[in-house]
């Protein structure tokens, strides 16, 4: 049904197969730093969820960065909070504010009512996945139908969703969710079990709809204490990974796990069964590769603030990240995998020209890294 990929470099890097260069995509690559994104958002009533719930607009903004920059993957335009919204918690985005839930989950009664949502309530997400995958089809130089780049689906991790569900909004200190965790671990485990089942179904339905890789954003795993992280975040991420459909149409569907601030637990994160581990910029890529590079590919890890510096500095820092990982070919002839990315979402204040500089620097230096020495 789906045509073959024109550029499958990203998928090969995820699976630790040979690549001619290091593929890159950027977290939040479809976003407010692009004027064309802002224009589409205005059409959608200047509302984030207006964009995310409209298949046409979600498709449009997903493709915008690919039309500007030769990125190696597309990522579904959506939000991690679609799942708790479908659970009935009442998501809204106030003007100039972050997300907010009308009905946060803070007591035994609210926890008892939680259930895996009917995936039909998330139909708009799956429809967007299929629509984007279709929109990525083009014709190559020889007139064949091809997919331009792979499409990544995603979800928040069970713990990260729980943070928002209990806090009801973003938080500085995660006081409410941690109070629940330490006071009533039984309730916390019940929320996480529901979330894990929901996230598994959500990602598998994205894969059915056309996602060629999936990423689990454990954005708030890094706020947990050692010990609590393993029990309340990683164990449930593992449950999701183990429940994922890993092959579709004869192709492996790589799974990426990214814990912001997860550096101290890299070894354990690399053992949950994902193909790729995302790293933030605090992690030394070379050391991470030594530790887990024979088990997983690594994704990351430029500080997005580098993109506020002049072009020379952007190129220099991109080269430093690539050099820290090193030549992906191992002395034994095998390959380790590196997918270049930022260590966090791109800032809305980023000048788009700097992204062009970054893409060029990553592609050209990584080709040079692979040339015979």
């Amino acid at each position: 049904m789906w045509p073959p990929l024109q550029n499958d470099c990203f998928l090969r890097a995820c699976l630790r197969q040979p690549t001619e260069y290091t593929p890159l995509w950027l977290m939040r690559q479809a976003g407010r730093y692009l004027p064309e994104y802002k224009a589409t958002r205005v059409k959608a009533g200047n509302s984030f969820m207006g964009l995310a719930t409209n298949v046409e607009y979600a498709t449009e903004v997903t493709l915008q960065p690919l039309d500007r920059f030769p990125l190696d993957a597309a990522i579904l335009f959506s939000d991690i909070l679609t799942v708790p919204d479908a659970m009935g918690l009442g998501l809204s985005f106030g003007a100039g504010e972050g997300p907010r839930f009308a009905r946060p989950v803070r007591d035994e009664a609210a926890v008892a009512q939680l259930a895996v949502p009917d995936m039909d309530k998330l139909r708009y997400v799956f429809d967007a996945v299929t629509s984007i995958r279709r929109a990525l089809i083009t014709t190559d130089g020889e007139g064949r139908r091809v997919g331009r780049v792979p499409l990544i689906g995603f979800s928040g991790s069970p713990w990260t969703l729980a943070c928002y569900m209990v806090e009801g909004a973003g938080s500085d200190d995660y006081r409410l969710v941690k109070t629940l965790l330490y006071s009533r671990p039984d309730l916390m485990h019940r929320i996480l079990a529901v979330n894990a089942a929901a996230v598994t179904a959500y990602l598998n339905t994205q894969i059915e709809a056309g996602a060629q890789a999936v990423m689990i954003f454990d954005s708030w795993g890094g706020v947990l204490a050692d010990g609590a992280f393993q029990r309340f975040s990683l164990d449930y991420t593992r449950r999701v990974v183990q429940g994922l459909q890993r092959e579709k149409d004869g192709q492996r569907v790589p799974c990426i796990v990214f814990t912001k601030g997860g550096g101290p637990w890299l070894d354990e994160i690399a053992s949950v069964g994902a193909d790729v581990v995302g790293l933030d910029w605090t992690v030394n890529l070379g050391r991470a590769r030594q530790l887990v590079g024979d088990r997983v590919a690594l994704q990351g890890n430029l500080d997005p603030n580098v993109l506020f510096a002049p072009d020379e500095a952007v190129a220099r820092e991109a080269v430093a990240v690539l050099d820290s990982f090193g030549r992906p070919q191992r002395p034994d002839g095998g390959w380790d995998g590196h997918v270049f990315n930022l260590g966090h979402g791109i800032s809305q204040h980023t000048p788009p020209e700097r992204v062009a500089t970054l893409v060029e620097a990553v592609h050209s230096h990584s080709r040079a890294l692979r040339s015979p020495v």
Copy 2:
């Protein structure tokens, strides 16, 4: 001049000497979670700097937690931003807001004007140190004058001060300071060199005034990328540590370095020459001890949010931290050092009774840990 200490358990743990139990103190132990602190603050015009700049009030609030709980150290009541304030940047605390500088340092001209401030402008801090040290003197059971517990002085690290100096206030993303760092590393290094000299003088003058240990808070070191952390934070922290007076009145003055989010760089942080390394709650204490426990004592690392849970949970989590470090006696007969603390400042919302539970749990379980097996 100063009488001997009644309780020097904290100093011995810092220096990896035998102790009968694990000493503890809490970052921000003199603070808004205590009703008596709020009462003093009202007397000081409900102003943080009103408290910090008044020797009498600063002394009063420093001693308040010691009168409630058998803590093993006092820490000077002050703020890390006193140093840039003395540089002339114009510190203010808006109502309900964080700190703000009227004249942030963002361009070449502002950087050129920076200089190590005259320590006389910080006289109120040194006077507070001496006043607190005096107020800590009591009479023991046999009528001898003794110091109740050691007094810790402190400063922000050169990098952490620079964050505030460039941003002009707290920040979510450190965009301005990182833009400067990546665009004009020469200016950043100049700011940091001035800060390092200022912090060194500031801490040495605190030691002269009576501080028996000093702590460097690298609160924002953890936001830097690997590589940038070493060059822009750790190198300047090292410069401070190496410039410190380490002995006073025949006593070693221990130096504690705490980088929030510094877990990935523990080995390097342990090599700057400090006696103690502070750890946040993401770090596994047992593993940290294996890695660096033969070089430094460790301080930390309970998640302050544990103090919102019931007493049983507080005690259980305190025991887990102590057990993670393990018996401080090594099989070879030597001792490793552990100072119990939170991994961050105590929250203003903490019920004070939970602190009593914590202190009791740490003291009693750590005595039990030392008993012959």
